[in-house]
Subunit: 638 residues, 2 copies
C-alpha cells in the first residue's frame, strides 16, 4: 500500500510507502524545502503546512501550540501514514517577490525489476538430510558400521552411485553414535560438483533432525562482512547479521592489506581477522534463532579476489604488481573448520571463483544471481565501489573489466566523505535562486558527512545553480556566503557547523569534484572500452544491471547527468542490490543453480584496462560534466 | 652360488648359501649334532671333524692346537665358504655301541616360487613428476598463477582432464615459488582412484627435481612397524627400517589396546604412539639416503583393522564385542600430515581397506600382492600370527575368515616363548636315544627363549622320541633327567641354565603344548570350515600361500606333522614373506596394480567363525597330533 503526497502550490504528487519521511518524499518529488540540519527538528527551517490528511510527528516541542493548530509542521520529523496534501511556504525575496524552486523529476530505479532478472529458484539445496533406521548388526550381517550406513542410504532410492565420504573426523565416533542412537540417525549428504558425481556424507547426527537444515551465505566485503542464515527446508532467510571486517585495523583498502600481508605474520593476522569477523556473524545469526554453529550444514561465500586470498591464506602479493596476477581463481575445496571458522568439521566453505585480480567472486556471484549467463539479452552489469567492475555479455560470451574508479563513490577521496550510514547526506537540492541547500540525511539526523549518493546528487545541483562549470571548477563570479575559498581551495558549504553533528562546516571542495569526475570518467570509459572490445555500443545494451550497496540510493537521472551512467532508455536500468549475497543465497538453496556458478567463470574473459590506449583516450574525454562528447548524452538539456 | 655340505658317516648332503652356519646346515639336513648352548662356542659339545674343504671360525680359543690340527671344529661357530665334507662323531652308549640319530628330511619352502606368484610389475607409479618451464605473465596473458600452472601441465600431453587440486596449502605460496624459481618448476601429480579421474596436483617444487621421486611403504604391525623407502623412478628399495610399535606400552595385543582406547585420552594416546613410531621410521630411512621427509611423495600402508582404526583415530570399541563390527572398512582419503606424520602437507596416506574386524588391510595387501584376485587357480592364503587369517578363492570369488589361533606361534602363551629375535631357539632336534636336544638359535647365540618355529619344531621331536603322546601329554614312564615335574606340571628341559643367557632352565611344559595344539587346531579347523563353505576340499586347492614373518622360518614337514598345515603335495606350498609390505611396495610402484587393490576388497566376503558350529566340531577334532582323523594326513608315517 502506498500513499499519495501532494505538494502545493505546484501540485506535484509522489507516491510513497507508509512511514516515509516527508522531507524524503519532497526530495523524491523534486520539491525544495529549506532544510539545512538534516532532521531532528533543530533548525526549524523546514516548516510546511498540512492542508489535508494526517502526519505523524516524532516530536512537536519545536513548534508553538498556535503553529500546530494552524497546521504548521516540521517536514524533517514528519512521517506519512495517509494520503496528504502539503503546502510549501514560498521563499520570499527581500523585495517581496517569491522565489520558486523549479520542480525537478529525479528518479530512483524501481525494484520491481529484480524478480524479472533473478527469476525464481527451487528449494532443492545441494545438501540434504536423510533419516535412517538401520538394522543392528548380527553375526550373519556384521559389515562395518560405515558400510551399513552407506547401504542404508543406497536403499532409500535409485542412486547412481554409492555415497562417498572424505572426512576422517566423520568416522571417529560413528560406531558410538550409531549405537547410542539405537541405529536411528540422520545423515547430511552433499551433492558432487557435477551431476554424475556421488553424494558425499558430511555428517551423521543421532535421531531425526531432518527438520533442521541450515545454510549460511557470506558476503566478504573489504569493509563489511555480511551473513544470511537460510532455513534450507523452506528457503527462507531466518537471520541476518553484518559486521565491520576487522581486517580494517590493518588497512582500509585492499591495497594496504596486501602490503600488510607481506610483513612477517601479516598474512596470518589478516586471515585470523577475517575468520574472527565471520565467527562473530555466525554467533549472532545462530543466537538469533537458537541453533548451534555446528548445525549449519553448508556455507557459500563470495568476496573480491584479495578477500578470498586473505581468507584462505594465499599470498596476494602479485595482485597489485603489473601484470596483476592473482594466485588462484578457482578456490580449492575448503573445510570451514580448517580455517578456524566455527563450523562442524566436515562442513565445506564454497567460495565463488574469481576472474582476475580486480574482478572477484563477488562479481561472479552477482552475474550468476541475475542470470546473465542464461539470458539471450546483452546485459551490462555494473558494480560501483572503490573499483568499478563491469561485465558485458549474455549466455554465449562475457567480457569483464575493472577500472580504478577511485574511492569517491564510497565516501573517501572526498573531504567530508563518509560511508552510507547514519548522518550521511544522501540527497541534496540547491535552490537555484537562494543557493541554499535542502539536505536529506540517512536516519534523518544532523549531518556528519556526505556519502556517495550525496556526492552524485550535489554535483548536478551545483552545475545547474551555476556554482560550478562543466569542468567541475568553481565560478568565482558567483558571490554567496556559502561559496568561499577554504584551506583546500574553493568550496561550497552544504551545512553550517551549528547544524551538524561534528561541529564543523560540511563543505564540498573543488578537489572533491575533481576526484569525483575522475572516478565517473573511469567508470564510463571502462564501459565504452569494454563495449568497443566486443564491437557494440550502448544502443545494443538491452539491460544495465546496477549491483552493490551504492546502487540502492542512486538517483538515476543525476547519475546520468554527471555522466556516470550512459544516457539510454531509463527502463533498461535494473537495480539488483547486494548481488553477491543474492548469488550466495541462490547457490545455497538451489543445487542446479549451485552447479551453474562455474559456468559463469568459464565463459567470462577479463580485459585488462591498465595499459589499454583506448581506455586512456576515453578516460580523458570523460573528464567533463557530463562528457566532452555531448552526442553521448542526447536527452540532457545542457 | 651355493655350496654343498656333506655329512659323514651317513653321507647326507645339503646345499647352503655362502656364510651359512654349520649347525644350521646340519639342522637343515636333519643331521643331529649335540649342541645345547645355541652357539658362541661355550658348551664345546658340538665338536665335528672337517674332512675336506674350508670352514671359517669366528673364534677358535675353545679348542686346543692339537684338536685344530686334527680337523676338530665347533659347528656352532663355523661358517661354510666352500664345498665341505664333515664327519659327525658318533654318540657312544656306555656299552660302546653307537647311538646313531636317524637322519630326517625336513624342508623349508623354497622362495623360488615368490616371483611366479607375484608376477612382475611396471615402474609406473601413481605419482609422477613433471618439469615445466612456464611463460611469465604479461598484461595480455595474466591468468591466475594456478591456471597458468594447470595450462602448462595440460599442454604437455593429451590429458583427458585438466589436473585438479584439493589442497589449500599448495597454493599459499605458489605465486612466490613460481617467481623465485623463474617459472621453472616441478609438479607432483597423483592419479585418481579411477582411470578416468583427473590427476591431482599434490606439490610444486622449484627447479627440476624429477630425478627425486620417493614413496614409502608401511607395514603397520601390532608389534612392529616396518618401512621401506622406494625410489619411484627406478622401483628400487633404497632404505628400510623397522621399529617396535610404541603402542606396546599400552598393551601387547590388539585387544588390550582396544580396552586402553576407551580410557579418557586413550585413543589419542594410541594414535600418537603409532604416529611417533612411523615418524621414527621416516627419519631413519630419510637419514640413510639423505633426503628430507617432505621429499616423500606418496605413502602406502597396510595394517590390521585395529591398527588402521587407531592410526586414524577411529573408535575401535565394537571390534572386540560380538558381532565384531569395525567402524570402517574403506578408509577415507587421508593426508599424512593431518595425522601428525612428518610429510609434505599434501602427501596422501593410502591405507589398504580391511574386510572385517579380524581380517585387515594387511591380508588384503597380501592377497593383492600374490595376485590371487587375477588367477584362475584356487589358492588358500594363510597368515599365521596371533590370529590366523585365511583366504580362499580366485579371481572370481574369495572368502576369508579369522580364527583365534592364540598367541602360541608368536611366542606368548608359551612359558619361555619369545619373538623371533636374537637368542630365540628356532629349531630343535632331539636325539631319539639320548633324548638330548640339538638347538639352533637366531643369531647363533646362547638361548633366551623359544620362538614360534622353535615350538613347531620341538613338538614332533618330543612325539617321535616318545616323550609326549598324540594328545600332547607327557609320557610319565619315560625317565630322563630332562623330563620332570615343574611348577606348571610336566616339562622337558631344552637348555640348562648355565648354557642360557637368562640363567634359568628353558623348558617346554604340558600347558605350552596344550596351547600349541589349540592354536594349530583352530587354524586347521578354520581352513576346513572355509573350504567347506565354498564346497571344496584340500585336494582342490591348487596353491597354499604362506604369508607373514612366521612363515619365513617354518619347517614345512614339521608344520604338517603337527597338523598345522594340510598334508598335500609339498610343491603346492609357496612362501610369500611379508606379503603386506610387498602389496604396499607394488601399489607404490605400479599405478595399475594400485587401482586393482579395491577390487580385492570388492570380491572378498568374510565368514564369521565365532559362532559357527562346523568350526567348533572341526576344532575339537583337530586337538590331536596331527589330527583325530588320520585319513587327513595320509603321508605321515604315524
Amino acid at each position: 500500500m502506498e500513499h499519495t503526497v501532494s505538494f502545493l502550490p505546484d501540485n506535484i504528487t509522489v507516491r510513497v510507502s507508509p512511514g516515509e519521511n516527508l522531507l524524503t518524499a519532497a526530495a523524491l518529488a523534486g520539491v525544495y524545502i529549506p532544510a539545512s540540519c538534516g532532521g531532528d527538528g533543530v533548525c526549524r527551517k523546514c516548516k510546511i503546512e498540512l492542508v489535508q490528511g494526517e502526519l505523524h510527528a516524532q516530536n512537536t516541542s519545536s513548534l508553538s501550540q498556535g503553529e500546530i493548530s494552524r497546521g504548521t509542521r516540521l517536514a524533517c520529523i514528519s512521517t506519512v501514514f495517509s494520503d496528504v496534501t502539503i503546502r510549501i511556504p514560498e521563499i520570499v525575496r527581500s523585495d517581496g517577490t517569491s522565489l520558486k524552486a523549479k520542480p525537478k523529476t529525479t528518479r530512483t530505479i524501481s525494484t520491481r525489476s529484480q524478480e524479472n532478472l533473478v527469476g525464481t529458484w527451487q528449494i532443492a539445496p545441494p545438501v540434504r538430510k536423510l533419516y535412517l533406521t538401520l538394522p543392528p548388526p548380527t553375526l550373519d550381517d556384521n559389515i562395518p558400521d560405515m558400510q551399513r550406513l552407506i547401504r542404508g542410504i543406497s536403499r532409500t532410492g535409485p542412486a547412481m552411485h554409492e555415497p562417498d565420504y572424505d572426512h576422517p573426523e566423520l568416522i571417529h565416533d560413528l560406531s558410538v553414535t550409531l549405537r547410542e542412537s539405537d541405529w536411528r540417525v540422520t545423515v547430511i549428504l552433499l551433492q558432487g560438483k557435477l551431476a554424475n558425481e556421488p553424494e558425499r556424507i558430511i555428517a551423521v547426527e543421532p535421531g531425526d533432525t531432518t527438520d533442521q537444515l541450515y545454510g549460511l551465505a557470506l558476503d566478504l566485503g573489504t569493509t563489511t562482512i555480511g551473513g544470511v542464515l537460510i532455513d534450507l527446508n523452506s528457503g527462507r532467510i531466518i537471520a541476518e547479521a553484518s559486521a565491520y571486517n576487522s581486517q580494517i585495523g590493518y588497512g582500509e583498502d585492499i591495497i594496504s592489506r596486501i602490503i600488510y600481508s607481506q610483513r612477517t605474520g601479516g598474512l596470518r593476522a589478516l586471515q585470523e581477522k577475517a575468520v574472527h569477523t565471520i565467527n562473530n556473524i555466525i554467533e549472532e545469526v545462530c543466537r538469533t534463532v537458537i541453533i548451534s554453529p555446528s548445525d549449519i550444514s553448508y556455507i557459500m561465500a563470495a568476496g573480491n579476489t584479495v578477500m578470498a586470498h586473505l581468507l584462505l591464506g594465499i599470498n596476494p602479493k602479485f595482485i597489485r604488481e603489473a601484470p596483476y596476477v592473482p594466485g588462484v581463481s578457482q578456490f580449492p575445496l575448503t573445510k570451514a573448520a580448517a580455517l578456524g571458522i566455527m563450523a562442524h568439521p566436515s562442513v565445506r566453505l564454497f567460495l565463488y571463483p574469481c576472474i582476475a585480480s580486480f574482478v572477484g567472486g563477488d562479481i561472479v556471484a552477482g552475474v550468476h544471481a541475475c542470470n546473465m549467463h542464461r539470458s539471450e539479452k546483452i546485459s551490462l552489469f555494473i558494480d560501483i565501489g572503490t573499483n568499478g567492475e563491469i561485465v558485458v555479455g549474455n549466455r554465449d560470451w562475457m567480457v569483464c573489466a575493472a577500472c580504478s574508479a577511485g574511492p569517491a563513490f564510497e565516501g573517501s577521496g572526498i573531504k567530508y566523505g563518509m560511508r552510507a550510514s547514519s548522518g550521511a547526506i544522501e540527497n541534496v537540492h540547491i535552490h537555484p535562486d537562494t543557493l541554499d541547500p535542502m539536505i536529506i540525511t540517512i536516519g534523518n539526523t544532523n549531518p556528519r558527512g556526505i556519502c556517495g549518493s550525496g556526492v552524485i546528487a550535489i554535483v548536478p545541483e551545483l552545475l545547474e545553480a551555476g556554482i560550478i562549470d562543466r569542468r567541475g571548477k568553481f565560478n568565482d563570479r558567483k558571490k554567496h556566503h556559502r561559496i568561499r575559498k577554504g584551506a583546500d581551495g574553493w568550496e561550497y558549504v552544504i551545512a553550517w557547523a551549528h547544524d551538524t553533528m561534528i561541529g564543523e562546516d560540511i563543505v564540498i571542495t573543488e578537489i572533491d569534484l575533481d576526484n569525483l569526475i575522475r572516478a565517473k570518467g573511469a567508470m564510463f570509459a571502462g564501459c565504452q572500452t569494454l563495449l568497443e572490445s566486443v564491437g557494440i555500443g550502448f544502443a545494443e545494451v538491452e539491460q544495465i544491471i546496477l549491483a552493490g550497496n551504492f546502487g540502492a540510493h542512486i538517483d538515476l537521472e543525476r547519475a546520468i547527468a554527471i555522466g556516470l551512467l550512459p544516457d539510454i532508455d531509463r527502463d533498461r536500468f535494473y537495480y539488483l542490490g547486494n548481488a553477491s549475497m543474492l548469488g550466495c543465497q541462490i547457490s545455497l538453496t538451489d543445487h542446479i543453480r549451485f552447479r551453474e556458478r562455474t559456468e559463469v567463470r568459464r565463459i567470462m574473459t577479463n580485459l585488462e584496462l591498465s595499459d589499454n590506449l583506448n581506455f586512456m583516450n576515453y578516460y580523458v574525454a570523460a573528464l567533463f560534466l557530463p562528457h566532452t562528447d555531448s552526442r553521448l548524452f542526447p536527452s540532457l538539456s545542457y
